[in-house]
Symmetry: C2
Subunit: 235 residues, 2 copies
């Protein structure tokens, strides 16, 4: 049976990390809200007995799983996108959670006060937070990923071991998003992280990912998503 | 061999979620930085081949695991603090990640601009963010937990199934922290979440947890941690 992904249809957002894993694996899935609208997705948040807190969530038969990192933890072994050993799996997940932290901080650059308010209601605070993100946090995250790649005993092509994992796919998406939202700041840091750049390219060139990115299944970046291009926040 | 927990010694912080699990299980562990200072902890962040991004991290023999939720995912089965089925385990982890989101948002009430700056450098922004947190986010998280308890087919005593899990212990700590940081706002919401209150009490009364809380191993809340009592942020 096809996986059901439930997520906001008009943005990449956190759902994109799940979409990339499903696409890379060639898995059968339905992006439910893009086909049928968001009513079913919203109803699922009220559904007992185990209601997710927020989209995205995945339905696999009777099982419903929310939280992006938990979805990828569940899908990794099923899609062949994680190593076999417990050590590799928990390390992959640890990287995934750190990527999730980076994503949350990127979001908060344009919404440092409240998600439910408009950007225009918090743009002065956003300018301060974005400056700290560009100057300190963005480099810290990308330099850590570079260090992880450099320290991989099986070589710097992948974050974990010698194979593609959900973490590699998510690194790709983080770099895509940062380069969209903060083109100048990201370019500066990427000049110092050649292994991150190489892994980003490797993922983009995977045949199924390349086909996906060229398809209309890939929602373009926009100013409703997590990664938003507000030039004033790029310093 | 005893587990090694590496975390900042002067605060409860994120390490406390791990401490509570180890204490409840009566596991042998060393809180390394509290015994030997933070040099070893900081050195571990530089240690190849798999450096954690930040404390807390756990060392179990050769394995090093960072990210609070990943540590609890790893410890859950070993400490008997998670159900047997994959469905129970991924649901427990999903709750854990949602609790982690609540913790991060509680932190950002006093540091909405930058973790590396002092509160006094961002108190005007903090006032705005804290108002949104008190009014919208804190109720949303606690009411979701209440709903999860109410919807548990095995009864509302525990978040998952009929047994104590790492998620229950973390709910306890979240409520403790919120009640410390936002006593008035939290009391108002807890009036509407009797099942959350009952689970908080159940955890506090567990013999090993009660002994731990009364010991000097429990660091008191303070204004260096994640949950800080700044009365002006409690509305």
């Amino acid at each position: 049976m096809a996986y059901e992904l439930h997520y906001w249809p008009m943005i990449q957002g956190r759902g994109e990390f799940v979409r990339l894993a499903l696409e890379e694996a060639g898995a059968a899935y339905v992006d439910v809200a893009r086909e049928d609208g968001i009513d079913g997705m919203l109803a699922g948040l009220d559904g007992p007995p185990r209601p997710p807190f927020a989209p995205p969530y995945l339905r696999d038969g009777d099982l419903v799983i929310g939280q992006t990192a938990a979805i990828l933890l569940y899908l990794g072994p099923r899609l062949g996108l994680v190593g076999e050993s417990e050590a590799d799996r928990i390390w992959t997940h640890q990287i995934q959670l750190t990527l999730a932290d980076a994503v949350a901080e990127a979001h908060d650059t344009h919404h440092p006060i409240a998600s439910r308010l408009y950007y225009e209601e918090q743009w002065t605070e956003a300018a301060r937070r974005a400056e700290d993100f560009r100057t300190h946090r963005l480099p810290k995250f990308l330099l850590w990923l570079e260090r992880v790649l450099a320290a991989n005993p099986e070589g710097p092509r992948h974050l974990v071991g010698h194979r593609l994992s959900t973490a590699d796919l998510s690194l790709f998406q983080l770099v895509e998003g940062l380069a969209y939202a903060f083109p100048r700041a990201t370019e500066r840091v990427l000049a110092d992280t050649p292994k991150v750049v190489a892994l980003h390219r490797l993922v983009a060139a995977r045949p199924r990912i390349a086909a996906y990115l060229a398809s209309d299944r890939r929602v373009p970046f926009n100013e409703d998503g997590i990664f938003r291009r507000y030039p004033e926040l790029d310093g």
